[in-house]
Structure formats: structure tokens, C-alpha cells
């Protein structure tokens, strides 16, 4: 029997039993949906982390000094984490130590931040805002660009003025129709004057920046700080990548000396580079990529078993048809081919449906959450190939049973 003849026959069969076909495909559809949705989102995250995150958020050739590690970059013992929690907080004194140790740095900044449950202006309010108190070069070292108005100046810092540069999401919410410049903004019982608005960034991490308010560090220190002179991060940007390691070593040595740590004693501070974040992401990525095939194959095996059962039922239902076809000259391989094609068509249809639903799901996730999505062509090919494999392997036994039927008994079957 010709190939297309088999496909047409299979499609007719699937179409005739629409509901039965659909239910027999649920397992495969779920498996492939999951595969496509997760891969599309993980792939989106991958692109995001590789192309934007490391560069624009963390900055190239930049390292930060923090009280303790912020990202879990690998297996850390809880004992280690408890010890880090006892590290002393960073204060302005540490800033001076680091600054003295990095005279050749391209840029140098420090900041502290806190979470605000809301900011207000006029009658409008915007919840969930990150308030940053940044030193002079903070916005520059972060690569944040001001879209309208101005950024913070040395004068703002020196005089500890109550001025703020706000993120685009806050500007949109508080001033949907007017310009936010020179307008007041209130939080924690204080009133600041808006002098600038940052460029909209968007995206997974960008959303956080779009919902940030930047004020001078000195102002923060005087009006907002829970503990005076507290610093969250000290940021150092070097000129070229080759300077990273020696500069980090300098900073490490200076801080250890200042804190009078004995040789062999652990650092009671943490130096973080974008590599830490990348390797943290790679760890997550690796776990996901190991877990997905397992989860997907479980649902595909279940889906395959369902298809096999449906096909076995179909062989029994159509025993007379098989007998008739044999009496009309169908060979074993023709019958075998017919049922294999049917199972494969069914399963590939399921995979195609799964792809559609999966892509739809990824779109929905992209639309309503900050998670990015990126369709990888290879995952579509893999999904269809998996559909074919499931179809053939689950159709093999039923097809064999059908092909082996004795034509006389099959014709007599009631």
C-alpha cells in the first residue's frame, strides 16, 4: 500500500473518532506541551542572562563587595551560610578601605537600598518600589540612562538634597498624563523632588529597575537608613578584564588587613562578580535540563501506553475489517503498515497539538510574568520526532497483532 494512502486512511480514522482520538492523545499532548513551554522559557532566560543580564545589570569588568553572597553559586553548607550571616555589615569605613585599595579603578561607587511598600504623588500611588541610595557614580557604573530631566550630581550628594530620579514604571503610574519633572514624590513620610526619569528597560530584571527610585546616598544615609553609614554594595569597575583578578586580590587584602583577620581565617565579607551569577544560572539551567527529559518521558511513556491500548482496542473492533482486507489481498506488511501509520499519525498530531498549546502557554507566561520566552527551532523538531517515536513504539505491538490475524477467523469474528 502506498505511503499517502496509509496517511489518508489514518487521518480518516482519527477524524471519524475525534473524541476518542483526542482522549487517547492527552498524555502525549501534556508531555509535549510541558516540553515546549519549559524549553521556550528556559531558552528565553538563557538568552536574557547571556545577552543582557551579565552585561547590563551587573556590568562588564565589574565586581562588588557585599556582606555575604547573594546568589547561591553551588553547594554551600548551612554551616558556611550561618557563618556568613555573622559577617559584619559594610559601612562607609569599608568604602574608604576599598577605594584606597583600587586607585586604578575606572569607576567606583557604593549604594544601599530598601524595599518600599509604596510611593505617592498627588492622589496616585505605586506599590512595591525599590529605593536606592547611590553614590555619585552609581548610575553610571550601572549604565542607567536618564530619559528626561537629569541624573544625580555631586552637588546633590554633597548637600544631601531631597531629589530623586525615578524608574519609568513609577513615572507611568504616578504621572500618566503629565511630566513628572519637578513634581513631589513621597515615601516614608518624606517628600522628594523628582529631577529625572530613567529610560525604560523592561524584561525580567529590567522590570525591577523600572520600579526603582534613586536618591543620593548621603540623603538616604540621613533620612532613611536604619543604621547610619550602612552600605549594601561597593561596586568597582576596572578598565580591562585582565585587571579583575589582581584588583580583587588587592581589595581582599586591604579588607582583611583592616579587619585584622589572621592568615587562614575565612573572609568575613564577600566579593561577587558577574561570573558568580552566570554560574548560578548555569547550575539552575543544568538542573532544569536534567529534570525536563525525565518529566517529559514519564508523560510520553504514559501517553504511549494509552495509545497502545486504544490501538489494541481498535484492532479488536476492526477484526472483521482486517479479515476483509486480507481476503482482498492485503499482505501482513500492508496491515502492519496501516496500524503503524495510524498510531504514528495519531501521536504526531498529539505532538503538534502539544507544540501549539506549549507555545501558547509560553506566550501567556511571557505576557503576564517578567519571564522571557524564546522559541528554539530544534525543540519543535525534537517534539515532532518524539511524537513519531512514541507512535511507532506504541503502535508496533497492536500492528503486529493485527497483521498476524488469521483471515478466516477474523472474517468470522462478531
Amino acid at each position: 500500500m502506498r505511503f499517502w494512502e496509509g496517511i489518508r486512511l489514518a487521518l480518516t480514522q482519527v477524524w471519524t473518532h475525534k473524541l476518542k482520538s483526542f482522549f487517547s492523545l492527552v498524555g502525549v499532548i501534556i508531555g509535549i506541551t510541558f516540553l515546549i513551554a519549559v524549553i521556550t522559557i528556559v531558552e528565553g532566560m538563557n538568552r536574557y542572562v547571556r545577552e543582557d543580564f551579565a552585561g547590563s545589570i551587573f556590568g562588564v569588568n565589574t565586581f562588588t563587595v557585599v556582606q555575604r553572597s547573594q546568589v547561591n553559586t553551588g553547594p554551600q553548607s548551612s554551616e558556611q551560610r550561618r557563618r556568613e550571616a555573622r559577617n559584619p555589615d559594610l559601612v562607609l569605613h569599608d568604602v574608604e578601605v576599598v577605594r584606597a585599595a583600587t586607585p586604578g579603578a575606572k569607576q567606583f561607587a557604593y549604594m544601599t537600598d530598601r524595599f518600599l511598600s509604596e510611593v505617592r504623588s498627588g492622589g496616585e500611588r505605586r506599590p512595591n518600589v525599590r529605593l536606592i541610595g547611590g553614590s555619585e557614580d552609581y548610575q553610571e557604573i550601572q549604565g542607567w540612562k536618564v530619559e528626561s530631566g537629569r541624573g544625580l550630581t555631586p552637588l546633590d550628594q554633597r548637600r544631601a538634597l531631597k531629589v530623586a530620579v525615578i524608574g519609568s514604571a513609577i513615572a507611568e503610574r504616578l504621572f500618566p498624563t503629565t511630566s513628572p519633572l519637578d513634581k513631589p514624590i513621597r515615601f516614608r513620610g518624606q517628600q522628594f523632588t523628582i529631577v529625572g526619569v530613567f529610560e525604560k528597560q523592561g524584561g525580567f530584571i529590567g522590570n525591577i529597575r523600572d520600579a526603582s527610585v534613586l536618591i543620593p546616598f548621603s540623603t538616604y544615609n540621613q533620612t532613611m537608613a536604619e543604621r547610619r553609614e550602612e552600605v549594601e554594595e561597593i561596586l568597582v569597575k576596572v578598565n580591562v578584564a585582565a585587571e579583575m583578578e589582581p584588583t580583587i586580590a588587592e581589595v581582599e587584602g586591604a579588607l582583611r588587613a583592616d579587619r585584622q583577620l589572621r592568615p587562614g581565617e575565612d573572609n568575613n565579607f564577600w566579593i561577587q562578580t558577574s561570573n558568580d551569577l552566570l554560574s548560578a544560572w548555569n547550575t539552575i539551567n543544568r538542573i532544569l535540563m536534567t529534570a525536563i527529559p525525565g518529566l517529559v518521558s514519564v508523560s510520553l511513556v504514559v501517553g504511549g501506553i494509552v495509545i497502545m491500548n486504544i490501538m489494541l482496542l481498535s484492532v479488536t473492533d476492526r477484526t472483521r475489517e482486517i479479515g476483509l482486507r486480507k481476503s482482498l489481498g492485503a499482505r501482513r506488511r500492508d496491515i502492519m503498515f496501516q496500524f503503524l501509520t495510524e498510531a504514528s499519525t495519531l501521536s504526531i498530531l498529539g505532538a503538534a497539538l502539544g507544540i501549539l498549546v506549549g507555545l501558547g502557554l509560553a506566550r501567556v507566561v511571557e505576557e503576564f510574568t517578567p519571564l522571557p520566552a524564546s522559541v528554539s527551532g530544534i525543540s519543535l523538531v525534537i517534539a515532532l520526532a518524539l511524537g513519531l517515536v512514541v507512535g511507532i513504539s506504541s503502535g508496533l505491538y497492536p500492528a503486529y497483532r493485527a497483521a498476524r490475524l488469521d483471515p478466516i477467523e477474523a472474517l468470522r469474528y462478531e
Binding site: K326, L328, R331, P407, I408, L411
Partner: protein, 240 residues
């Protein structure tokens, strides 16, 4: 050896034997049948149930192989052929007509008739042309796109006959072809058979009804797996 001297016979059997093992018992369905049927014969195989007529029919139709004995169809010994070769012979040489029609319920009359041609590996265009032609021969040209449940019993059996004939087989093999039909429809179907025979078709039918068998030119009666009587009628006696 004796068979070699009778090459012109379309069907030749010598000592055709079929045994089934049912549990501990061996059932001897056929016990050495010698038979010769020539081209353009019109033969009825009769006998009570359990006489072995269905078994003989299955062997002649190459749906089964004998336990012992020889069967030569159109000069080819078929008793030792394998499954695929038997399928090819069924496809080219035999046209089956069943008591229960055995049409695919969801396929049109045309597609039902096309089926044997699919297994003959014919192109779709050629298949449709020949299937349409076969349906015209049984006066169903206007019912090609109907499904079996939109056809009467007689029309269904005529679709089945068209299907049996579409590959121009050597033998039309009918198993109780009127068993599911009322008497007037039976007469209609037998008219089709008679006309086919008149145009040169070899017909073998299994029946237990004497008035159906009366259309044939030769009646072979089986009892207990052996031929017990053979009755050759002159064309006049057969009503022609």
C-alpha cells in the same frame, strides 16, 4: 503427476485434506477431495452444516492451506505458498462475495470497490476509473458516493460483487451470497450472477438453498468432508 495431464483445468485438487486440532481432538474437516473446475463453469457446492463446504471454500479461496493434498490454481501449485504469496493470489485471482457483504461502513461504495486495487498497487486515478466501471456493471453508477447504510441489502451485495470483480479475477467465489437477503432481492442478485456467468465469468458458490443452487450448471454435494454426489445439468435443465 496425474494433475500434469490436466493442465487446462482452472482448479484441480487431489486428495485435499484439512484437519484442525481442537483441544485434544483432531477434527478432519476435509478427507481427500478430488475436484476439477474448468474455466467458465458455474458450480454450486452444497451440503449440510459441518460437511466441510466452508473449509473447501476457504482452501479454494486461498485463505487457508491444506494439511495434505494438492491444489493447483491456473497451473500454479498453491498448497505450499507462504502468507504473502497467498495474499497476492487472493488479490489477483479470487473475487470474494460474502453472506454479510463485509463492506467498510464508513467508506463510500466507490472506495469499497477500490480496496482490492489499493493492494494491487494501482494509482488512485486508475483505481477510481476501474471502480466506477465495476459499479456501472452492477447498475450502481448513481450510488457511487453512498455509504453502505444508505443502500438497500441488494444494493450492498451488488457493491460487494463489483468489489469482487474489479480486479478481473479468475474465479468469483460466493459464500451464501443470498443468505441475508429476502427472496425477491435474492432473485435480483442471482440475475446478476447469471449474467456474469453468461459473459464468461467462472463462478463457484457455496449454498444450502436448493433454489439458489439451481442456477448453477453443476452441483457438488459434500458430506463428512468428502464429495458424496455430483450432478451436472444441461444448460436446458439449468433454465437457460
Amino acid at each position: 503427476m496425474a494433475i500434469n495431464g490436466q493442465r487446462d483445468g482452472m482448479i484441480l485438487t487431489r486428495g485435499l485434506t484439512k484437519e484442525y486440532v481442537m483441544g485434544a481432538e483432531t477434527v478432519r474437516a476435509l478427507r481427500g477431495v478430488d475436484l476439477r473446475i474448468d474455466r467458465n463453469e458455474y458450480v454450486a457446492i452444497m451440503g449440510p452444516s459441518g460437511s466441510g463446504k466452508s473449509t473447501l471454500m476457504n482452501l479454494i479461496g486461498c485463505l487457508d492451506t491444506p494439511t495434505a493434498g494438492e491444489y493447483v490454481l491456473n497451473g500454479q501449485a498453491v498448497q505450499d505458498l507462504d502468507d504473502d504469496e497467498l495474499a497476492r493470489i487472493r488479490n489477483r485471482e479470487i473475487g470474494f462475495v460474502f453472506q454479510t457483504f463485509n463492506l467498510l461502513p464508513r467508506a463510500t461504495a466507490l472506495h469499497n470497490v477500490e480496496l482490492p486495487l489499493i493492494y494491487a498497487g494501482m494509482s488512485a486515478k486508475e483505481r477510481q476509473r476501474r471502480a466506477a466501471e465495476a459499479l456501472e456493471k452492477v447498475a450502481l453508477a448513481d450510488r457511487m458516493d453512498h455509504k453502505p447504510n444508505e443502500l438497500s441489502g441488494g444494493q450492498r451485495q451488488r457493491v460487494a460483487i463489483a468489489r469482487a470483480l474489479v480486479n478481473e479475477p479468475s474465479i468469483l467465489l460466493a459464500d451464501e451470497p443470498t443468505g441475508n437477503l429476502d427472496s425477491s432481492t435474492s432473485a435480483e442478485i442471482m440475475t446478476v450472477f447469471d449474467a456474469l456467468h453468461a459473459s464468461g465469468q467462472t463462478i463457484i458458490m457455496v449454498t444450502h438453498e436448493a433454489d439458489i443452487a439451481a442456477h448453477s450448471h453443476r452441483e457438488i454435494t459434500l458430506v463428512d468432508g468428502m464429495i458424496s454426489a455430483e450432478h451436472v445439468k444441461t444448460p436446458v435443465a439449468a433454465g437457460l
